[in-house]
């Protein structure tokens, strides 16, 4: 007979072992940020560096062509923060319209919004680029930020789901007390929406932080590069790649993602559940 404790032990052992395989690439990257180029290039499996190369961080931070990673991080934070604010604010407003207000064509617009979720980015990418090109905005942050101010269907949907749980009686009571439909949103719905706002903000921040194709298309001057674009330059340079520096900067680039995850773990999981978002 296999005892219950043995079975339990086996379960935990297997789950942990497989989990270790899952996160091994991540651990390998982090340890790689402290390894010598030679150790990385020869595929050392070890997660503990042979010689601790702290200078990888200094070397990486120096960046390319005199532009340091401080610039790239600042650019990334700027774009991600503004597009997050834009997405969250505009989506909450639109969600209020679709879930609480009965205006003409509401159902039609809602249907249109849902169907836009299926349209591949490639289809609108080209004409959108041409429009921004015509406006002389290619090379600026505007094309990366502006589109987030029109409500994102995913987050509109997520917030609508959340609004269902806010009792309609609250709106009605406020209206009897003399509130307009406008102040119902600003004074009641928006504050109560806070958990959904936080979830949306986290996910959108991740998307914007990781975004690669947008910066790739629109940013032309290395001074405006975001972190993801700058990281690619490690792999792109014709000269011998400085693996250690690449891994050091890769690790740093994931730091904001880790920190946000550690703080908002539960919110994030709830968000993925309600909307089925790709995390």
């Amino acid at each position: 007979m296999v005892g219950k404790t043995t079975k339990k032990f086996m379960y935990h052992f297997l789950v942990l072992a497989f989990g270790f395989v899952m996160i091994y690439p991540v651990l390998w990257m982090i340890s790689g940020s402290l390894k010598t180029n030679l150790e990385i290039a020869t595929g050392s499996l070890s997660l503990i560096p042979q010689y601790w190369q702290w200078e990888n961080f200094a070397n990486g931070w120096r960046g390319f062509a005199g532009i340091g990673f401080d610039v790239f991080f600042r650019n990334s934070f700027f774009v991600a923060t503004l597009s997050t604010i834009g997405t969250v604010l505009s989506s909450s407003v639109v969600a209020y319209a679709f879930s609480r207000l009965r205006f003409k064509g509401r159902k039609l617009y809602f249907g249109i919004m849902l169907s836009t979720m299926m349209i591949p980015a490639q289809v609108i990418m080209i004409p959108q680029f041409l429009i921004f090109h015509r406006l002389g905005l290619v090379g600026t942050f505007v094309p990366l930020i502006l589109p987030s101010f029109f409500g994102h269907p995913f987050f509109v949907f997520l917030m609508m789901q959340f609004m269902v749980s806010i009792p309609k009686e609250l709106d009605e009571a406020a209206i009897i007390d003399g509130c307009s439909k406008y102040s119902v949103f600003f004074r009641i719905i928006f504050p109560l929406l806070a958990p959904a706002l936080v979830t949306s903000a986290i996910i959108q921040f991740y998307w914007a932080w990781d975004d690669f194709m947008g910066p790739l298309i629109y940013l032309t001057d290395p001074n405006t590069y975001t972190v993801s674009l700058a990281l690619r330059m490690f792999a792109d340079t014709a000269s011998i790649t400085d693996f250690g520096a690449m891994f050091a900067m890769s690790t740093l680039s994931l730091l904001p993602v880790f920190i946000v995850f550690l703080i908002f773990n539960k919110r994030l999981v709830e968000g993925i559940n309600t909307s089925g978002l790709k995390g």
């Binding site: 499996l45 505009s90 080209i126 307009s180 439909k181 990781d210 890769s250 773990n265 089925g276 995390g279």
Partner: protein
């Protein structure tokens, strides 16, 4: 004077009435979406459709060329290859992604200690998976003298030149996608929680074994969630771009030339905006077609509680 005052106050109340009418408030709040839909969706899409039948290049002007692009597309072997590569990728990655997601979610529903920690562990690759950093590292893992090959050699096997051969170049990209099963896992976990425990109790009384319970209860109850995940992952799979762009650049000999990558290259590297527009429409039609097929067949294998 008096008359004028009453007139303005009437106008004022009229105005008040208007701005507080349900329609006006509705359009006021829906305004960001409506304007956005018009200018960043509808107009660009109409432009794109028109450009599909022009010889537009980046920086050039568009001349209507009728079906020239279509003819070119039908003779473009690289285009058909890119569709093949993309479909192969979807067919190999999506089922494994779903299977792993479901399996891990199933294993982690038990009331055991540390489930939250385990879930975070398995979700981590998905959490950071969209990052360029991870793509770069993944590419390094499968390098000629990378970790994977070193590991194979330890096992007594021969290392593989992953990115150098036609047949193997797509494998690291597929594996990376499968590795990121976290979001479907979380959605499955939520779905599993919704299954009433009374079903399981009834099955236990009837003497069903674990596999029977899984096949007869868990899977059918979960089928709407499976459908949802299948759709989302398939659509995302068709748009795969970054991994190929970074790891292989589409090579060797187009073996990983995903359609999204091919469109990008035509539009932005080779400046064939018109031709690229047409291809992007083909991609849209393909995705729509696959979605419709999945929906149609799903009627046979999804079950809803009220059926």
């Amino acid at each position: 004077m008096k008359n004028k005052n009453t007139k303005t106050s009437v106008e004022q109340t009229k105005f008040q009435k208007l701005i507080h009418s349900e329609n006006f408030v509705g359009y006021f709040f829906a305004f960001p979406f409506l304007i956005g839909f018009l200018f960043i969706m509808a107009v660009p899409m109409a432009m794109s459709l028109y450009y599909s039948f022009t010889d537009l290049t980046l920086g050039g002007t568009a001349t209507f060329t009728g079906l020239d692009n279509v003819r070119r597309l039908l003779n473009d072997a690289r285009f058909f290859n890119s569709i093949g590569v993309t479909i192969r990728f979807v067919v190999f990655s999506v089922p494994f992604r779903l299977a792993f997601g479901l399996f891990v979610a199933y294993i982690l529903t038990r009331q055991v200690r540390g489930v939250a920690f385990y879930r975070s562990l398995y979700y981590l690759p998905t959490l950071i998976g969209g990052s360029i950093a991870v793509v770069l590292v993944w590419g390094q893992l499968f390098a000629r003298e990378g970790v994977v090959n070193v590991f194979l050699q330890i096992l007594g096997l021969e290392g593989v030149h992953w990115f150098g051969q036609l047949q193997t170049a797509i494998i690291p990209i597929v594996l990376m996608s499968v590795w990121q099963f976290g979001s479907s896992m979380i959605i499955f976990a939520a779905g599993l929680k919704e299954i009433p425990t009374s079903y399981y109790e009834a099955a236990e009384i009837d003497g069903a074994n674990k596999w029977q319970v899984f096949y007869k209860i868990t899977l059918p109850c979960l089928s709407p969630v499976i459908l949802y995940n299948l759709l989302m992952q398939t659509i995302a799979g068709f748009m795969t771009f970054t991994q190929a762009f970074i790891m292989t650049g589409g090579g060797p000999a187009d073996a990983t030339n995903f359609i999204a990558l091919y469109i990008y290259n035509h539009a932005f590297a080779w400046r064939n905006m018109g031709y690229a527009s047409l291809m992007s429409w083909v991609l849209l039609i393909m995705i729509t077609f696959v979605t419709v097929i999945i929906f149609k067949t799903s009627k046979k294998w999804t079950f809803y509680a009220n059926d």
